[in-house]
Amino acid sequence: MTKQSIRTPLGQVRGLGSARHGAGHFITQRVSAIALLFLVPWFLITLIGAVRGGYDGALIYIADPFNAVLIILTVGAALYHMRLGMQVVVEDYILKNSTKTVLLILNTFICITLFAAAAYAVLKIAIA
């Protein structure tokens, strides 16, 4: 503090610390991790198989109702988990408040946009 302030030291730091969402972040990060523990191995195996099956193989894979639901679940849980993880990385390494805020907002936008694109693609193929 270079400027003299009439605010007490406690008053100056109030509201600058924890947003009181730490436990929620911790728990949701782990709950999504547990879901992904089951979803990701299935997704990787079937996805890599489908990638090898050409355009028709890809459509058959995605159009299957069982696969369509599981793809949306996997991508959803993964993007949710990714957003939380990247949030921690940004908070750890970016000290400047404005840059940090911009990156955190960008992180949220990216993850939600990717989810919208993936869900649209799967539903378009599966329902059409």
């Binding site: 990701v40 195996i45 489908a50 995605i62 990714m82 990717l114 993936a118």
Partner: protein, 146 residues
Amino acid sequence: MSSWTDKRPMSPHVSIWKWHMTMASSILHRITGCAIYVGAFLIVAWLFAAAAGPDMYEPMAGLIGSIWGQLVLFGFTLAMSYHLLNGVRHLFMDAGKGFNPKFASFTAGLALVLSVVLAVSVWLLAGLVPGVDPLSIANTLLGAAQ
């Protein structure tokens, strides 16, 4: 001159630490996490290309089928495998288990070794999906190498 005027001792920075297995695993967990973040764009792009039609899908399939595409896809599988297995390790540590230094180093190394096993297993199992030629990948790799 540093503007740091606080006389109290600073927490030592990363550059003075000796590298440990557990430290490397923690850093690698974060690196693979960031790599998967980038890879997620590719997965969504693949799904989107399939929905957009063959005009968009075929160039993408060609890219994935190339040697570089296959390397990226396998690298993605490897990063996922490591992050998943080390994530299991983290879940146990969250529950307060596995902190004995020797055991923690052992599980850190184990996650690294098993991630290679898992990634290779995933690729082998992917060949068993019905309607898919398990040898096409080998042919692609051989064809690209020649």
